[in-house]
Amino acid sequence: MKRFVALAIGMVALAAMPAFAHKTYSHQKYFQHYEGTKTCLQCHKMQAETFFHSLHYQWEGPAPKIINSHGMKLGKLNTINDFCTNPKANWIGLVRNSRGEVLSKGCSQCHAGFGKMPSETMTKGQLENIDCLICHASGYRRDLYKNPDGSVAWKPILWKNQVGLDSVAKRISLPKRTMCLRCHAGSGGGPNFKRGDLEYTLTDCDSNFDVHMAKNGNDMQCIDCHAGKNHDIPGSGTDIAGDGESTATVACNNEDCHGNAPHEAEILNIHAKRVYCTVCHIPDFAKHDATDMDRDWSKPVYHAKQDKYSPTIKFEKDVKPVYAWYNGTTWEQLPKTPVKFLPDGSVGLMVPQGSRKDPKSKIYAFKLHRATLPVLKGKNWLIPIVVEKFFADGNINKAVVNAAKDFYGIDNAKYKWVRTERWMGVFHEVQPAKNALKCLDCHGPNGRMNWKALGYDGDPMLAMVHKSLKASH
């Protein structure tokens, strides 16, 4: 009888539990209820501490590859970029249009924290501000909510549904493509706006889109190449100012990947000594979502449908890269430093270093992003822009003057507009051999290389042919 009662109670209990309660996730047994990051910290305090010091949390770090960093820590928090300029004055907040619709929630949308700005000092509050789940829990989503005191904070969208939140919080894994791309594909204000070669399509693509990440092919995850230790993620491209503590780089020709002579044809291996793989294997980028190629902040545009202002942005799809020598270092236009003009009259924000004569240099493929940004008259310093309020009111003068006050402490700033350019290395959307560039794509009559800009008198192959013809006569 006792056994029957126990069985009956068991059956009732089973029926009362939702069917999915029996699913097991990686962290099923480690905790019962997720109560914010303090739940994670019970076992992962050390990991949280390494993350606190990482570039992903601090948004600035040692910058050994920036030739004019002079030992300074650099990153998006203390420099000025040509997309949304600087996140400090735009960190968090609900910006609404005249219809009350939310236009923007701040740059912290892509910071792996719950809304506090990172501090230099590690505190309990800062560790509990780390949002572990944004990178480690599949199916986790968050949004900006008002607290009872009127402040705002990022919270899981399931914050009122503890059962659902517990389920999601137990699905812990190393970051997958979908998790990385949540932020990295949407940076700059929209899908593929900023990078050009990092699109949401990479979550589910074929090998003609990207031979590494193709689901039906290698199905590689971002961290297969960007494999770091202690939250120190390598791979800062050519225009990311800060690096992690380690100086590890991500390169196709690492010995455990493709090596220095990966081709059967020797002529291609000879090329690979001075031409980086991406030049031939990324013939174009922005293959699904158009990318921002030129952002002019001096010309606000009103979008009636969204009741929102934006800078004038030129988008392009299927973009052919431009090519330049790169030796692994970059010159950056830093704040509080007079702007330096390039020969074409624009200010170089991120300029790859290297030349034909430099044996460490190779030719790389780049997205060349142009912009129009404000510069402080007299001192000639770049000024960021308080973009969030501008989206609602379109007052670009106020947005620049307020930014000069926030960033430099300068009242009523007088400024002028300058054209800028940023050379952004292109490293994704890699094509298999069958889709790579062929000889005549560069060495043909309408070849894509600007030989003069690369330091040659003309096509070096033609020069070699002439030389050998001369020798044979």
């Binding site: 939702p18 069917a19 999915f20 699913k23 599949s138 199916g139 986790y140 989503r141 969208i157 399931l158 009122k160 549904n161 059962v163 659902g164 389920s167 999601v168 979908t178 979550t203």
Partner: protein, 119 residues
């Protein structure tokens, strides 16, 4: 005889036109899953509703599947919909409509790739 022929060809032509036009018209009129959710769910479960606010991202996918399998009928037993002539919810929402609504809720649940509030 000629007249009969004319009538016949007119009838055949009209039938053919109707036959070709029907699927397109039906397709145009069929509400999308999102519209179904708005018209049949959100009208009673919108913001500040005494019945509770529910959007696709209120639950995770497993919770929605569980809800439609085990709770939906009991929760709506005897409930009438004032926005649809006070008809009973369980009769007004046909099994086919319910399938579409369930799929939409699951596809846009809190842990889906595209969580949605449904406006």
């Amino acid at each position: 005889m000629r007249k009969i022929g004319k009538i016949l060809s007119f009838t055949v032509a009209s039938c053919a036109m109707v036959a070709f036009a029907m699927p397109a018209a039906a397709k145009d009129k069929a509400p999308t899953p999102r519209q179904l959710v708005k018209q049949y769910c959100r009208v009673c479960h919108g913001p500040n509703s005494p019945n509770g606010e529910y959007t696709p991202m209120t639950f995770i996918q497993d919770q929605w599947t569980d809800f439609f399998a085990n709770t939906y009928k009991d929760a709506h037993k005897g409930v009438v919909d004032p926005h649809h002539n006070n008809k009973k919810v369980l009769e007004e929402i046909t099994p086919d409509m319910l399938k579409k609504i369930e799929k939409y809720m699951v596809d846009h649940a809190a842990d889906s790739e595209h969580p949605m509030t449904c406006g």
